[in-house]
Symmetry: C2
Subunit: 344 residues, 2 copies
């Protein structure tokens, strides 16, 4: 039972564009995926978005006339209110791309524009693990840490499109580990997949015993490793090896996972003492670590937060996986549609 | 030129209740102050609030019929949505006091209830240094650190009345200083007036040279100081001595002020990367330190924040002083009044 009206959601990433048609209840009617090809420049890139929208509609078996709005989400840097991509570091050479206006003109449909992490949070809020909550914070744990904050149907996008950059809050202001962004002490430097791999390599170099030595992460950490090999192990996918080793009792891996869980709990507590949402959700590749990671985060949150939010805030994994972004983008289009109906 | 409608704002503190009648533009028509007398218990306390409302109206020279609503703010712990004081540690033996319902019944006027730090932020947003901004974060620097967050006329009060407890976000998750709340590493443990005095005493004990030795803070820090004397110097008012000493070139005092400014900047950056407001404001007794403190905070914020918010976020002192709470409470009453008119 698909419920009208229908919306197209598009989630642009550095490598691929995901999209689909989503119904009024947040259920996808279609799901498509194509390479982003940012290297082709602004016009080529806008053409890729058009193609994604068209494919999503065709895959849903609907005519364009059945679509009530389009939502597009992209990675920063961006001007959300202006509908512009500015200069995203992972989408070179794109610069100052008027995404919202282009899509709106091309399809003659109301179009919304949002940050990808915010859209994913809105997706979970609308149709995922945040359903029924008044407010949520979503942390997306991948190579870095993305974040989106929804309070009473409002996306905390910030006045300068920098709301919910919670991977880059300072949690260690003296002697902090360096973050990928170049500043010390950020949450992302302690709890992203990349930071977990980096820390593992540091500890392996310090000659501690660990079953991780016989895995690629250990082999590529040795004194003979080339710079390219060292860089390769920083790939977030290697974090899975650390979680596996921890599950089988490896002490070094357990210490690393425990520290990451503690840092994630600190991030959660900081949001509980700022936003104080109903639910805090974790999505992204690192959630493959499953319940052992989640229960350690919950443990530390209960220990560190004020008693009332510690007792009442739900700490859960997200539900929508990689679909959260395009479902949330469609949700943003739906929200604008609902508001426009109310206004008339 | 006083503008109708008029609202009563009441700001309850541990020691005194402040209040006044405020006009539609946020200008006070009256200002009153009386002892809280929480020691008298729930009923006596509610009588004190009634008295404050009556005195505020009389002092404004208005009949009750000219008042369109009442706003009351109190310190936590509380249930904002329920209109209840729970068990504030500095207002013993009060417990489960139905403030909003009582005031509403007593005066037969729509009554709002809010946390005192949130009300102060709303006051600055409406009629103080936040006027004209879309969103602000206010830090109130006193014995502890209070905080209020306003985004597009919405007070981020949280689902469990714990929104904007930003004095208690973790900024040093390993080897953190102990906060008054019993948890380590909180912002308040680094940047409140009390923490500044505490740190000064620690450094004086470690035998460093400082002009502070000849001030009360030094005299009461010596090896012969009694526990009561040691406790007395923790009074936030002594922080003023440290700022004075820093201004006259005392190296130890300058180091302490610099570290506090850095910690306050970290708190500001964390809000810029979470809420990303137009303005961050500082109020409370510590702002007597004047422009040297503010300029050091600004310096560190520019260094630590992402470029766009670093450039665009205004970092300012608040304007309303101790009136912010009751003006903001009246503002909350006004907001409810405006919403009720829109709804009809």
């Amino acid at each position: 039972m698909k419920q009208r009206p229908f919306f197209v959601g598009i989630d642009v990433g550095g490598q691929s564009i995901k999209g689909g048609v989503v119904d009024d209840a947040g259920q996808p009617l279609s799901e498509i995926d194509l390479p982003t090809e940012a290297f082709g420049g602004n016009d080529h890139f806008l053409g890729r978005i058009d193609l994604a929208v068209e494919r999503a509609i065709v895959a849903a078996g609907l005519p364009l006339s059945e679509i009530s709005g389009i939502g597009v989400a992209t990675p920063g840097t961006m001007d959300i209110q202006g509908g512009l991509i500015l200069e995203p570091p992972n989408m070179r050479p794109l610069k100052n791309v008027p995404v919202r206006e282009h899509v709106q003109q091309r399809f003659q449909l109301p179009t919304t524009f949002q940050n990808d992490a915010n859209a994913a949070a809105y997706g979970e809020f609308w149709a995922g693990a945040g359903r029924g909550a008044n407010s949520i914070v979503l942390f997306t744990l991948g190579t870095g840490i993305g974040c989106g904050i929804i309070v009473r149907d409002m996306i905390i996008e910030g006045e300068h499109s920098h709301g919910a950059e919670v991977g880059h809050i300072v949690v260690q202001m003296f002697d902090g580990r360096m973050c990928g962004c170049g500043q010390p002490g950020h949450l992302e430097a302690y709890a992203s997949a990349r930071s977990i791999v980096k820390r593992t390599k540091e500890l392996l170099i310090s000659s501690r015993e660990s079953s991780l030595r016989s895995t690629p992460i250990g082999q590529l950490s040795g004194p003979s490793a080339s710079p390219a090999e060292v860089e390769e192990t920083l790939d977030a996918r290697y974090a899975g090896l650390v979680f596996q080793a921890a599950a089988t009792g490896d002490a070094l891996a357990q210490e690393i996972v425990e520290d990451a869980a503690y840092a994630l709990a600190v991030g959660a507590v900081n949001m509980m003492h700022t936003i104080n949402p109903d639910r805090i959700l974790y999505g992204g590749g690192m959630t493959a670590a499953g319940s052992p990671l989640l229960s350690r985060i919950q443990h530390h949150v209960h220990r560190l937060a004020f008693p009332v939010p510690a007792q009442k805030t739900q700490i859960l994994y997200a539900e929508l996986g990689t679909k959260a972004g395009f479902i949330g983008s469609a949700g943003c289009a739906r929200r604008a549609y609902v508001q426009s109906i109310k206004a008339t």
